[in-house]
C-alpha cells in the first residue's frame, strides 16, 4: 500500500479507536447504572406497594367499623326494625334500606356493600342487585372467620350488563342486639387503579395474578419472567392465597439505550471516517507530494537524468530531504561528469591501449619484414626476391589489417546519435534474414502482434546483423546448426524482446562478462576486431534498451535485446 494510503488509514484508525472505546465504556457504565437504579426502584416500589395495600385495609376496616354502630341509620336502623318487626322487615323498611344503601356505597367510595340479617339473608346489595333476598350464609361465615380483619375475596359484580368476578378487599362487622343481628360487609375493588398508585416509573411493571395463575390485571407492557420479581400475597379470610401482586422493574429501556449508543457511535464513526479520510487525504497529499517529487526525481536519476531537480514546497524535514537530494543530484552530476570524463578517459585510454595493441600487432610483422628486407638487400641474399615477395606480402597484409582496424575504430568512434522513427521489428528481422537466404537457414518465431518500436532502422539493422554474424560464427558449418530469431512483447512491460539463439558451443561465464567490452574477441584467428558486440551494446544503449547474453534452450548462446515500445505520447 502506498504511503498516502497507509497514512490515511492510520489517521482513520486514530479517529475510530477512541470512538469505539468511548462507546464500549459508555455501554458498560450505562448498563451498570441502570441495573442499580432498577434494583433501587424495585425495592422502593415494593415498600410502596405494601404500604398502599396496608393503608387500604386499614381505611376499609375503619369505614366498615363506622357503619356497624347502633347510631348508624343504615345498620343500626335495620337492627331496630328487626327488633320492632320481630325479624321480618316490612316492605317499606326494605325499600328504605335499599335506598340508603345506594347512596351510602357512593358516599363511602365502596365498590361492594352487603347487609345481612340474623339469618344471613341479604337485605341489601347495592353493588350486585341479584344478591338481594338470597341466602348470604357464605358471606356471614366470612365475617365471622375474618375476626374484623380485612381480607381478599373474588366477588361477583355487574359490569356492562354481565356478571364478572373481581378481586375485592373486604371487611365485615356484625352488630347484635338480643336475638337479632345485622352484618355489614364493605369492599373495595383491587384493580388497575390500585396498581396506578404503585406504578411510579415507566419501567416498573406491576400485575395481579390469581391463585389459579390467571392474570387478573395485566401489566401495562408485556410481562417477562426474568429479573428480580417481588411478590405480595393477597390472602383470603382463611389465609389461603387468593391472588398476588407481582412487581418487577424492567430494563426494557436498557437495550434501547444501548442500541442508541451503538447507533450514535456508528454515525459518529462514519462521520469520523469521512472527515479523517478527507483530512488524511489532504494532509498526506501535502506530505507525500514532496515525497512523490523525491521519488520521481530519484527514478529520473536512476534513468540517468541527473539534471532533474526536486521542487520542494515545505520547510520541514521533507523539505530538508529534498534540498539534500537536490544537492546530492548536483554533486552526483558533477561526479557523473567527472566519472564520465574519467570513464571516457579510461575508455579512451583502454581503447587507445587496445588500439595500440591492435596496431602494434600488425606493426611488428611489418617492421620485421622491412628489417629482413634491408638485411637481405644489404647482404645481397640470393633468396632476396623470394624474401622480398614474402615480406612485401606480409607488409601489405598487415597494412590492410591496420586499415581495417582504423576503419572499424573510426566507425565505432564516429557512431552518430540514432535517428529514431517508428519501426516494425518483425519486418526488419524478415528483411535481414532474407539477406542470408541460401547461405544460412535462420528460423523465425515472430509475434505478429508485436507493437512497433521507436528506433533507428540503420543502427538496429546493424545490431541485428552483428548478432546474426556472431551466431553464424558460433555454429560454423556443422550439420544441424540452427539459428532461431524470436520476437515477443515482454509481459507487464513497455518493451519488446528479440532473441537470437544458436546451438553452437555456447559461451562460458568468464567470457560473458567481457563480451561487450570493445576489442574483446575470441576470434583473433578469424580476424575478429572485438568491436562487433561493443557496437551492438552501444546501439542498444542509445535506444535505451538492454542487451544480455545467456544460455540458449537450443544449447548454444542466446542474445536478448530489449527495446522500448513506441510511446503513444
Amino acid at each position: 500500500m502506498q504511503l498516502r494510503g497507509r497514512f490515511t488509514l492510520w489517521f482513520v484508525l486514530a479517529a475510530l479507536v477512541p470512538i469505539a472505546a468511548a462507546a464500549l465504556v459508555s455501554r458498560a457504565i450505562l448498563t451498570s447504572t441502570l441495573r442499580d437504579d432498577a434494583e433501587k426502584a424495585r425495592k422502593t416500589s415494593e415498600e410502596e406497594m405494601r404500604r398502599t395495600l396496608h393503608e387500604m385495609s386499614e381505611d376499609l376496616s375503619q369505614t366498615v367499623s363506622g357503619l356497624a354502630v347502633r347510631e348508624d341509620p343504615y345498620v343500626g336502623g335495620v337492627l331496630l326494625d328487626l327488633e320492632t318487626y320481630t325479624g321480618d322487615l316490612p316492605e317499606l323498611s326494605s325499600k328504605r334500606v335499599q335506598e340508603t344503601g345506594r347512596g351510602l356505597i357512593r358516599q363511602l367510595s365502596l365498590d361492594m356493600l352487603y347487609l345481612l340479617d340474623h339469618r344471613f339473608r341479604v337485605l341489601d346489595s347495592p353493588h350486585y342487585a341479584p344478591a338481594i333476598g338470597e341466602d348470604g350464609a357464605k358471606i356471614g361465615k366470612r365475617i365471622k372467620t375474618s375476626a374484623e380483619t380485612a381480607f381478599y375475596h373474588m366477588e361477583e359484580v355487574f359490569v356492562d350488563n354481565h356478571i364478572s368476578r373481581v378481586l375485592m378487599l373486604e371487611s365485615g362487622r356484625q352488630l347484635s342486639e338480643g336475638d337479632y343481628s345485622v352484618a355489614v360487609v364493605g369492599g373495595r375493588r383491587i384493580d388497575a387503579s390500585v396498581l396506578e398508585r404503585i406504578r411510579s416509573a415507566d419501567n416498573l411493571h406491576v400485575r395481579i395474578v390469581l391463585a389459579s395463575g390467571e392474570v387478573l390485571v395485566p401489566s401495562r407492557k408485556e410481562w417477562q419472567d426474568e429479573g428480580e420479581i417481588s411478590s405480595y400475597a393477597l390472602s383470603g379470610v382463611d389465609g389461603k392465597l387468593v391472588a398476588k401482586v407481582e412487581l418487577r422493574v424492567s430494563n426494557d429501556a436498557l437495550p434501547v439505550l444501548l442500541e442508541q449508543i451503538s447507533l450514535y457511535s456508528l454515525v459518529l464513526a462514519l462521520a469520523a471516517i469521512v472527515v479523517t479520510l478527507l483530512l488524511g487525504f489532504i494532509v498526506s497529499r501535502r506530505i507525500t507530494r514532496d515525497l512523490d517529487a523525491l521519488v520521481e526525481a530519484t527514478q529520473a536519476a536512476a534513468r540517468g537524468d541527473l539534471d532533474h531537480q526536486v521542487e520542494i514546497r515545505s520547510n520541514d524535514e521533507i523539505g530538508a530531504v529534498g534540498e539534500a537530494f537536490n544537492t546530492m543530484m548536483e554533486d552526483l552530476e558533477e561526479s557523473k561528469e567527472r566519472l564520465g570524463m574519467a570513464e571516457r578517459v579510461a575508455a579512451w585510454q583502454e581503447i587507445a591501449r587496445r588500439l595500440a595493441h591492435e596496431i602494434k600487432n600488425p606493426l611488428t610483422p611489418i617492421q620485421m619484414s622491412m628489417e629482413t628486407l634491408r638485411k637481405t638487400y644489404a647482404k645481397k641474399h640470393p633468396s632476396f626476391d623470394e624474401i622480398f615477395e614474402e615480406s612485401t606480402a606480409t607488409v601489405l597484409e598487415e597494412a590492410a589489417r591496420l586499415k581495417r582496424i582504423v576503419a572499424e575504430f573510426s566507425e565505432f568512434a564516429r557512431m552518430p546519435k540514432p535517428s529514431k522513427s517508428e519501426l516494425s521489428l518483425n519486418e526488419l528481422v524478415r528483411s535481414q534474414v532474407a539477406l542470408y537466404q541460401g547461405s544460412v537457414d535462420i528460423e523465425k518465431h515472430l509475434d505478429e502482434e508485436l507493437p512497433t518500436i521507436e528506433a533507428d532502422k540503420d543502427t538496429v539493422s546493424q545490431l541485428l546483423l552483428n548478432l546474426i554474424e556472431n551466431a553464424r560464427d558460433a555454429i560454423g558449418e556443422s550439420e544441424g546448426a540452427r539459428i532461431v530469431i524470436t520476437t515477443a512483447r515482454l509481459p507487464k512491460s513497455d518493451s519488446v524482446i528479440l532473441y537470437v539463439d544458436d546451438n553452437g558451443p555456447g559461451i562460458s561465464a568468464d567470457i560473458k562478462e567481457k563480451l561487450f567490452t570493445p576489442y574483446f574477441t575470441t576470434k583473433h584467428a578469424h580476424g575478429g576486431t572485438g568491436l562487433g558486440l561493443a557496437i551492438a551494446h552501444r546501439i542498444v544503449s542509445d535506444h535505451r534498451g538492454k542487451i544480455m547474453v545467456g544460455d540458449s534452450p537450443l544449447g548454444g548462446a542466446r542474445f536478448s535485446v530489449e527495446l522500448p515500445i513506441l510511446s503513444e505520447d
Partner: protein, 500 residues
C-alpha cells in the same frame, strides 16, 4: 249599640259561613270529579289488542276494556253479557246461544252473530285453539223468533262452555278481524282514542252507547313506566290515581292523598322463554338446567310489595288440586344441574370449559324484569355460564321474540283460563308448540320433560288507589266455583267501571 254589635257579629258569622261554604273541604278540590278522567297504570307497554294472541297483563286489561265476551263471571256465577241468556244445552252436542239484540260496536254498527262466529273461528285456528275445547264448528243462525243465535257443534258435551266463553280470549271484534290500535272496534265500555309511545300512555274514552250503560268515567288514561319509582312518584304526587308499583317513591315519603290498596291472587306468571340463537337453546335438558340452577326464594322480595309465589309450573300453585310443595324451586338443585350438564357436555363442550355465553333480553317497560334477569344471570354464573342482559323497548322486544334471535328472555303470561290444562297448553303455545295431549297429568308430564318455558314465580297485582276515587269499583273475586277457577277480575283489578 247592641244592635250594631249584633249586626257586626252576624255579618262576621255570615262572612265566615260564606267562606266556609265556598271553600268546602280542601281535599275535595283534589278529588277526581265524577265523569272526568282517571290516570292509572299498566304493568308494561301494551302491544296488542288482539284478543286471540294477547298474553301480558296490560294487553288483557285493555282488551277487557274495549271488547266484550258472550258471558262474564260475576262473583261465583256465570252471567250473560253479549249473550242474552245462558246456553241452551237441550242438545248437549248442539248448544245454542242467543245474541243480545241492540248491542252496538264503537263505530255504531250493530253486533251480529256473524261477528261472534268469525271471532271464535279465528280463535279456533290459532294456537289458543284449546279455549274452544270440544267445539267442532260454530255457525250463526236466525231463530224463528228473529233472534240471532250462535250454534256450537261439539264433539262431546261440555258443561263448561259458558265459562270458556267468558274468557277474555273469546272477546268479539267487528267481523272477527284482528284489531289494531287505529282500528279497534269492539262493543266494550271503552274505546281507544290514542296510543302514544312518546307519552307512554293509552287513552280510552267511554263508549256512550254501551249496552250495559255508560261508565261514570269519561276517560281512562293508562300509563306504563320504565322504572318502578316513577310510577309510585306519579301516584305520590297526585298525578295518577292508581299505582300498581307502590304508593310512594322513596321511604319516608307520604302519598298526597289518602290511599287504599287491594291485592289479587298470585296468577301473573313470570317465566323464562328460550330462543334459537344457538342449538343449545332448543335442548330440553338445557332448559331443565336453567330451571334447576335458579333459586327462586331470592325472588320473593322483588316487586313493590305484591305477593310473589315461586313456582316451577305455569299453573298457579294455589289453584292446583294437589297441594304442591311450596319449596319446589326455592333453592338451586346442584345435583340435578350437575347430572344434566354431564349429559350435555359431550355435545356442547363450552358448558365444561366455562366459555358458554348467553344473551338474555328483557322488556324495558317492565321495570322488574331487569332485576329478574340479573338474578337469572347470577344463578347461571355460579355454573360457569356467562349471561349478558340486554334491555329492549317493548316493540323491539316483541320483534326479537318473533325472530328468535336471542337465547333467553323474561316473559309474562297471564292466563285467564280457569282450567289448569288450558294454562299448561298456553305455556306450550308461548313457545310455539301445539300439544295434542288432553289429560292434565299427561300435560304436566310433557311440560316437565320438555320445559317449553321455565316458570319463575307467580305474582299478584297490588293496586294502590286514592281512597276517594270514584268511577272505578274494585271487586276482587275470591270465590271459587268448584274450587278450580277464579274470575278474571282477580287478575285485572282495574275493576269494573261504575255504571250510571
Amino acid at each position: 249599640m247592641v244592635t250594631k254589635l249584633t249586626l257586626a257579629i252576624a255579618t262576621l258569622a255570615m262572612m265566615w259561613a260564606a267562606m266556609w261554604t265556598a271553600s268546602g273541604d280542601a281535599s275535595a278540590e283534589g278529588r277526581p270529579k265524577y265523569g272526568s278522567s282517571i290516570t292509572g297504570t299498566l304493568l308494561e307497554e301494551p302491544l296488542s289488542l288482539d284478543p286471540v294472541s294477547v298474553r301480558t297483563h296490560s294487553d288483557l286489561v285493555l282488551v277487557s276494556m274495549v271488547f266484550d265476551t258472550l258471558y262474564r263471571i260475576k262473583g261465583d256465577v256465570v252471567v250473560p253479557h253479549l249473550a242474552s241468556a245462558l246456553p241452551d244445552e237441550s242438545d248437549p252436542l248442539h248448544v245454542r246461544i242467543s245474541l243480545r239484540p241492540g248491542v252496538l260496536f264503537s263505530n255504531g254498527r250493530k253486533l251480529k252473530a256473524d261477528d261472534v262466529v268469525r271471532s271464535l273461528e279465528r280463535l279456533r285456528r290459532s294456537n289458543r285453539y284449546f279455549y274452544m275445547g270440544a267445539v267442532v264448528s260454530i255457525e250463526s243462525v236466525v231463530a224463528d223468533t228473529g233472534v240471532e243465535e250462535i250454534v256450537f257443534t261439539l264433539r262431546r258435551a261440555d258443561p263448561r262452555l259458558s265459562i270458556r266463553l267468558s274468557d277474555v280470549h273469546t272477546s268479539v271484534s267487528a267481523q272477527g278481524r284482528v284489531p289494531t290500535w287505529r282500528r279497534a272496534i269492539g262493543t266494550g265500555p271503552f274505546h281507544v282514542v290514542e296510543r302514544s309511545s312518546a307519552r307512554r300512555e293509552v287513552r280510552l274514552k267511554a263508549s256512550e252507547k254501551h249496552f250495559a250503560g255508560r261508565t261514570y268515567l269519561d276517560e281512562l288514561k293508562l300509563r306504563w313506566h320504565d322504572d318502578k319509582s316513577s310510577e309510585a312518584r306519579q301516584y305520590e304526587s297526585g298525578s295518577a290515581q292508581l299505582s300498581s308499583r307502590g304508593s310512594i317513591a322513596f321511604a319516608g315519603h307520604q302519598p298526597k292523598y289518602r290511599t287504599k290498596n287491594i291485592q289479587s291472587r298470585a296468577r301473573i306468571l313470570t317465566y323464562l322463554g328460550f330462543g334459537k340463537a344457538q342449538p343449545l337453546d332448543q335442548e330440553a335438558e338445557f332448559r331443565a338446567i336453567v330451571s334447576a340452577a335458579i333459586g327462586r326464594a331470592g325472588m320473593m322480595k322483588m316487586g313493590s310489595g305484591e305477593e310473589i309465589v315461586p313456582s316451577t309450573s305455569p299453573v298457579p300453585t294455589e289453584t292446583q288440586r294437589r297441594r304442591v310443595s311450596r319449596k319446589a324451586g326455592l333453592t338451586p338443585d346442584l345435583q340435578r344441574v350437575t347430572t344434566l350438564m354431564k349429559s350435555l357436555i359431550p355435545r356442547y363442550p363450552a358448558l365444561k370449559l366455562g366459555s358458554l355465553s348467553l344473551e338474555l333480553i328483557v322488556n324495558s317497560s317492565r321495570p322488574d324484569d331487569a332485576a329478574i334477569g340479573a338474578k337469572v344471570a347470577a344463578a347461571l354464573f355460579a355454573f360457569g355460564i356467562r349471561t349478558r342482559i340486554v334491555s329492549l323497548s317493548a316493540s323491539a322486544f316483541a320483534r326479537r321474540l318473533r325472530t328468535g334471535a336471542y337465547d333467553i328472555y323474561v316473559g309474562q303470561l297471564v292466563d285467564s283460563s280457569v282450567f289448569a290444562s288450558d294454562t299448561l297448553r298456553a305455556a306450550f303455545a308461548v313457545s310455539g308448540q301445539r300439544v295434542v295431549a288432553n289429560s292434565l297429568a299427561s300435560l304436566k308430564t310433557r311440560f316437565e320433560r320438555d320445559y317449553p318455558i321455565v316458570p319463575l314465580f307467580h305474582r299478584s297485582l297490588r293496586v294502590h288507589y286514592r281512597g276517594d276515587l270514584q268511577g272505578v269499583r274494585f271487586a276482587p273475586h275470591f270465590g271459587a266455583v268448584g274450587g278450580t277457577w277464579l274470575g278474571f277480575d282477580d287478575i285485572h283489578l282495574i275493576g269494573e267501571p261504575e255504571k250510571n
